[in-house]
């Protein structure tokens, strides 16, 4: 179980996240939706500490990182990052490494796995994302959809407790989008613990166990798609209807 308590984040004067409380249940897919600038991406980045929150606590299976008192140590940050896999909007594959090289980088450098073991596991991941034949390709030789699938395999390679997706298909055209969405759906069905920030409402409806609506840095409502759709809050229904 992953629990976010009273999390706040400001950039200078502007408060991006205000006292966020959220429970991410294991083996479930949590989807974060909301208008642009609502703080969705910042929340996701706070979970693997690419942004350091100003206040609050993160509790991953009993390992608590608190931002209320003393400054968090680098050790605590690295420990949490190891357990959370991040998939970026812009893929961010390492251009100087092959698809296989991208996947084994974390296991070898961070987890100190042997090269043989890392390669063996990476090959299984490549199979999972359907790109075994691209193992020796460099990122620039792959389509956007293929790059994102490699990026997902790279995140999986660390065997994270939670997989985080930051608008994973925003940089893709509709044709390539579908292969990435299908892969995420497959992972969701395999009961990975997933948190996704997305604008794809139909996708949210299809795979989301818990859908969280954020506006102006606050969680307004959460639950199933049906629950949100029937919400008395006109802000939410307006938002959902705009996509239908």
């Amino acid at each position: 179980m992953f629990e976010i308590k009273n999390l706040s984040k400001s950039f200078g004067e502007s408060k991006i996240l205000k006292n966020i409380d959220l429970v991410v249940k294991p083996n479930q897919t949590t989807i974060i939706i909301g208008p642009s600038g609502s703080g969705k991406t910042t929340l996701l980045r706070c979970i693997n500490l690419l942004e350091i929150p100003n206040a609050g606590t993160l509790d991953l299976n009993g390992e608590v990182v608190s931002f209320n008192g003393e400054k968090v140590t680098k050790k605590e940050i690295l420990k949490l990052r190891k357990k959370t896999g991040m998939v970026f909007q812009g893929f961010n594959l390492f251009p100087h490494k092959t698809a296989l090289g991208n996947i084994i980088e974390g296991p070898i450098t961070v987890l100190k796995q042997s090269k043989e073991k890392a390669i063996k596991e990476a090959m299984e991941l490549l199979k999972k994302v359907g790109l075994e034949d691209k193992k020796d390709s460099y990122p620039h030789e792959l389509s956007g959809g293929q790059q994102q699938r490699i990026a997902i395999a790279r995140a999986l390679g660390m065997k994270p407790d939670i997989l985080l997706f930051d608008e994973p298909t925003s940089a893709l055209d509709p044709e390539l989008e579908i292969e990435v969405l299908n892969l995420i759906k497959q992972l969701s069905e395999e009961n990975y613990t997933i948190v996704i920030v997305t604008h794809k409402m139909s996708f949210a409806r299809e795979v989301g166990d818990n859908i969280v609506f954020i506006d102006k840095g606050e969680i307004i409502e959460q639950g199933t798609y049906e629950k949100l759709n029937q919400s008395a809050n006109t802000r939410i229904s307006q938002f959902l209807n705009a996509f239908n």
Partner: protein, 224 residues
């Protein structure tokens, strides 16, 4: 006919005499100074990137001084000036120190710019895997920055080959000084200075070739 025969004989006889100090002074001074300069440059660039307050003050001062004063003046200060402060150096180490400091200051900016040119997403991708700052730097950022910095670093390298001729001013018997001596004896400055220029040109041509192949090697996996 007689004149041209004399000139050809002069060129042939002087060629080895000029090339020899090139091989035993110019090339070693260049290689050693560039290697030390590169270490200084990387250290200075990393201090600036990591924003280490006190050290950054010291290194900024160093870069400011070196880039703002002539190399020849720096060489004179180290060789002729420092003995007054109780530090006496032989000509060769004095020139190597001067060249290393010079390359270090200029190249630190090259390396800093190359590191900054790497997209922020690369840092984040490495960090999100749980890599430490130095792991990301060493395994992700530096290999990409190296490619970007090759052309400007070779600019400094080639510049250094020619700058070593300034060591003649502090009695290092390198190529240019030897050429001056021969020219003074034979009264053929045009021929001899063109000859030494040609040798410098050959050295730099070899470096051009090395640069090309280094760029090819480092461009693997990246759009050219």
């Amino acid at each position: 006919m007689e004149i041209s025969d004399r000139i050809i004989t002069l060129i042939i006889n002087s060629f080895w005499t000029i090339l020899k100090p090139g091989l035993i002074y110019t090339i070693p001074i260049t290689l050693i100074s560039f290697a030390i300069g590169l270490v200084i440059a990387i250290a200075v660039a990393l201090i600036h990137i990591a924003n280490l307050k006190v050290l950054k003050g010291i290194t900024s001062f160093y870069v400011w001084i070196i880039r703002g004063t002539p190399l020849l003046v720096q060489i004179f200060i180290i060789f002729y000036g420092l003995p007054s402060a109780g530090i006496t150096l032989n000509p060769l180490p004095a020139s190597i120190i001067a060249f290393s400091l010079n390359v270090g200051a200029y190249s630190s900016e090259t390396i800093r710019a190359a590191i900054l040119s790497i997209h922020k997403g690369q840092w984040e991708a490495g960090e999100s895997l749980g890599m430490t700052y130095f792991q990301v730097l060493r395994r992700i950022i530096i290999p990409q920055a190296a490619k970007v910095s090759i052309p400007p670093l070779f600019n400094s390298f080639i510049g250094l080959v020619k700058d070593t001729s300034l060591a003649a001013n502090i009695t290092v018997a390198e190529m240019f000084m030897v050429t001056q001596r021969i020219a003074a004896k034979t009264y053929e400055p045009l021929i001899l200075y063109c000859e030494v220029a040609f040798i410098y040109l050959m050295f730099c041509t070899v470096l051009n070739k090395i640069q090309k192949s280094a760029e090819m090697k480092l461009s693997i996996g990246q759009k050219i």
